[in-house]
């Protein structure tokens, strides 16, 4: 019954998407402005169909309807309700359903907010592009990735998710956030395509989608960081970022997206960098599809990988189509993308944005190259090689340091050009802040040129951002914190905090491995830990061994290790004694022999790691602050599109 409902929902959504697409094409072909609104009806059909499908899947998951293949292979009766709910995005088909759902939310919201301008060719073409994406995804859901396949003889109980995916509540939030980011970039992409097709390459369309780009960017940032936090809390190795192909796949659109939200300011202020900005938007969306291809085709082995599927060729074809259309459009419109004006001096706001963009592009190039390089080499000469963390660390450190420098300098520079005297005067405070931070870091024991330089530049960035915020608040009160520049500077502070945490926890972490019996103690990097007692219990069919560890000055913590009968090796669940200064990360590395109370425990001291999450929170707040006044300016924002039409 629910299976039927779900299949029906997906079918309706597909029909709605095709209907909306057709009516838009007809309307555009007929040049009659009264026909466009029919598309709105079909979009409503599509959204409701998708809602029905999602609700059907959730009902099936929550009521343990194991006659559905998806439920039977990804859920069990004993799964807690929260994770049953989250199983929607725990495996391939469901995650595509979530993709479709988020896409529907965006398309619905865009068509609501632009419903009065729907006969505007730019808006119509943008909606048309989004609907093509919708048709593609609902087509996948209706055929090759059907989440509502049924079993003729349903099992009594399902197999359940990989245990790693059902032991932390972040699992319920992180993928959704990530998808809101990923999918959100469809909106600016569609407008970029529309601008290219209609030839309306002025800045109006950029202003009208500013808020959408920011929402997508903010969600992606927070989603990526939540994923990092999740792996830190769950995977048990004390790390949060492994340069894994799938992590890279989510990071790549973030890099190009970040480059865009900076360089678009130059275009809005000076009308320059048009080709570049369009390319960034097209690349960002293409990279989201490419990332989906990497994660869902079995091309690359990864912890995050969904089981290999037949979707590979389809996603690859879609990616190729996006590339061809994008490149052809930019080549075609090349002559109309002229940039008026020029950048007079490298020492100017636009000069620093340009530097920022080249650095981000280079950063993205390194990440992309490192991710796909093993594939390329293997197909050239059959060699298997790996590109891992040491490569990324080494290549990205200089780029990261240069980026921090540009980040600190940019807010101090004026548009057009900045004289040395003005810069020397403006940079004094921030530079003093950077020097102070650097000095403190060295006194606290930081070593190594790269890390110390990075930390010092982080201080410089904070100084520059605070200087801007203080001046802005003096002028405008609390409103100085809002708007793109205010919110942007708040986000810069967040990025610096994150950089502190990242640098300190990678460069200065210490670890020890101890074989302890109850009462024994061990110490690493000035932290003393005492093993108090062991508890060995059965949780249903799973054997759970828990060690109570007393971390001196922090209290008791109990890392655990669980042997699931359906899952080969035991899963270690770490326990972290967090503080503002450092984290004491405890994890059991082997399941003790039955009857023995000897545990092997790995203790990792990671300085400042908590600052990463705080930094992420600050970035999120910064994004929200940047969005606020745009909402107030809605009326005038709409006029931009309309008045441009008159040109």
């Amino acid at each position: 019954m629910t299976a039927l409902l779900g299949t029906l929902g997906v079918g309706i959504a597909l029909v709605g998407a095709i209907g909306a697409l057709t009516s838009l094409i007809l309307a555009l072909a007929s040049h009659r402005s009264d026909r466009h609104s029919r598309a709105l009806f079909w979009i409503a059909v599509m959204v409701s169909g998708c809602v029905v499908a999602v609700v059907a899947m959730e009902i099936a998951l929550l009521t343990n309807n194991f006659s559905l293949t998806y439920v039977a292979s990804n859920s069990t009766e004993s799964t807690p309700v929260l994770y049953k709910f989250a199983t929607l995005w725990g495996a391939l088909e469901g995650s595509l359903l979530l993709w479709g759902f988020v896409l529907c939310i965006y398309v619905g919201a865009v068509s609501l907010s632009f419903r009065r301008q729907i006969s505007d060719r730019l808006v119509a073409w943008a909606l048309l592009t989004m609907l093509v994406v919708c048709v593609f995804f609902f087509g996948l859901l209706a055929g090759p990735a059907d989440p509502f396949g049924t079993l003729s003889s349903p099992p009594v109980d399902g197999d359940g998710l990989n245990p790693l995916l059902r032991n932390h509540p972040l699992m319920a939030i992180h993928p959704v956030m990530l998808y809101f980011g990923y999918v959100g970039f469809t909106v600016p992409f569609s407008f970029a395509i529309a601008a290219l097709v209609t030839g309306r390459l002025g800045e109006g369309w950029l202003l009208s989608i500013r808020i959408w780009t920011l929402i997508a960017w903010g969600s992606l940032s927070v989603g990526i960081l939540l994923g990092a936090w999740w792996s830190y809390e769950v995977l048990g190795w004390g790390g949060y970022w492994a340069w894994d192909p799938v992590e890279n796949a989510s990071f790549l659109p973030w890099l190009t997206g970040t480059a865009f939200i900076h360089s678009v300011i130059v275009q809005e202020r000076r009308g320059m960098l048009r080709v570049w900005n369009l390319s960034l938007l097209l690349a960002t969306f293409a990279l989201t599809i490419f990332g989906t291809f990497l994660t869902r085709s079995g091309v690359i082995e990864s912890v995050h990988e969904f089981s290999a599927s037949s979707l590979g060729p389809l996603l690859l074809g879609f990616f190729a189509a996006i590339l061809v259309v994008s490149v052809a459009l930019i080549g075609w419109r090349g002559d109309e993308l002229r940039s008026p004006g020029s950048i007079d001096s490298p020492l100017s706001r636009e000069g620093s944005f340009l530097a920022n963009n080249l650095l981000f592009a280079l950063f993205a190039f390194v990440v992309l190259l490192g991710t796909v390089f093993p594939l390329i080499v293997e197909s050239i000469n059959g060699d298997r090689l790996a590109v891992g963390r040491p490569y990324f660390d080494r290549m990205l450190l200089p780029i990261g340091i240069a980026l921090l420098l540009a980040m600190g300098l940019a807010p101090l520079l004026t548009w057009r050009s900045t004289s040395r005297q003005v810069l020397a005067q403006r940079a004094l405070g921030p530079a003093a802040c950077g020097a102070a931070v650097m000095g403190v870091a060295v006194v606290m024991g930081a070593e190594g040129l790269g890390p110390v330089l990075g930390i010092g530049l982080g201080g410089f960035v904070i100084g520059a951002a605070l200087r801007h915020l203080v001046l802005a608040c003096r002028r405008n009160g609390w409103r100085g914190l809002t708007g793109r520049s205010g919110g942007g500077m708040v986000a810069h502070v967040g990025v610096s905090l994150l950089a502190f945490g990242f640098i300190a926890s990678t460069a200065f972490s210490e670890e020890g491995e101890f074989h302890l019996r109850p009462g024994d103690t061990g110490s690493v990097a000035g932290h003393q830990i005492t093993f108090v007692e062991l508890t060995d219990t059965m949780d249903g069919p799973n054997r759970v061994v828990r060690a109570l560890i007393d971390v001196k000055g922090r209290g008791g913590y109990s890392p655990a290790i669980t042997q699931y009968p359906t899952f080969g090796r035991p899963i270690s669940t770490p326990s972290v004694a967090t503080s503002f200064v450092d984290d004491v990360y405890l994890s059991l590395i082997a399941i003790p022999e039955e009857g023995s109370d000897l545990v092997v425990i790995r203790v990792l001291i990671e300085p400042l790691v908590g600052w990463i999450w705080v930094g992420g929170l600050v970035i999120g707040i910064g994004t929200l602050l940047a969005v606020i006044p745009l909402k107030d300016a809605r009326g005038s924002r709409r006029e931009d599109v309309v008045s441009e039409k008159a040109l």
Binding site: L316, V327, A328, L337, V372, L375, I376, S379, Q563
Partner: protein, 183 residues
Amino acid sequence: MTHWSLRIVRIFSAVAGLVLLSFVLLLATRDGGNGSQSKSPLIGELVPQVEGVRFDGQSFDVDDVTSGWVLINFFASWCVPCVREHPELVEWNRRHRLDGVVISVPFGDTEKDARAFFVEHGGNWPVLIDNESAWAVAFGVLRPPESFLVAPGGVVVAKWQGQITADEVDRVVVDLQERNAVS
């Protein structure tokens, strides 16, 4: 924009498009997947050293038994395919009572669990504990179960990843015997 820079945009987009498309082609045409009988740098080499104390207390050295066929099996008590393939090892051992021997090495397992495994599932061939995992690394074992067939004379001739059957192993045995008979 001058004619010159327009051409640059066109050339750039054409080059970028071609590079990316050839990359797509490269991804589209690559093939994957491999059979259960796997490659290993060990094949054709002499079997690495395996010596120690059996579960029943006798000392054992693989070089003493290489006059016949040797099937070295890395397993773990928690590994489901290992449990499933165990009867096949028993069967192979029965077939080759005279000209072969199975050797089991626990991998990623405790000695206690491994002993319990043999008590439960049977099998009276040598089981050896791999101290410091030196053998596992020497054999390049990735995950249990993994099996290596050593031909009479001590050369490794085949490697299997995953569950095996007695027939599968014997196909290689018979194949080699026939080839030797011809030459």
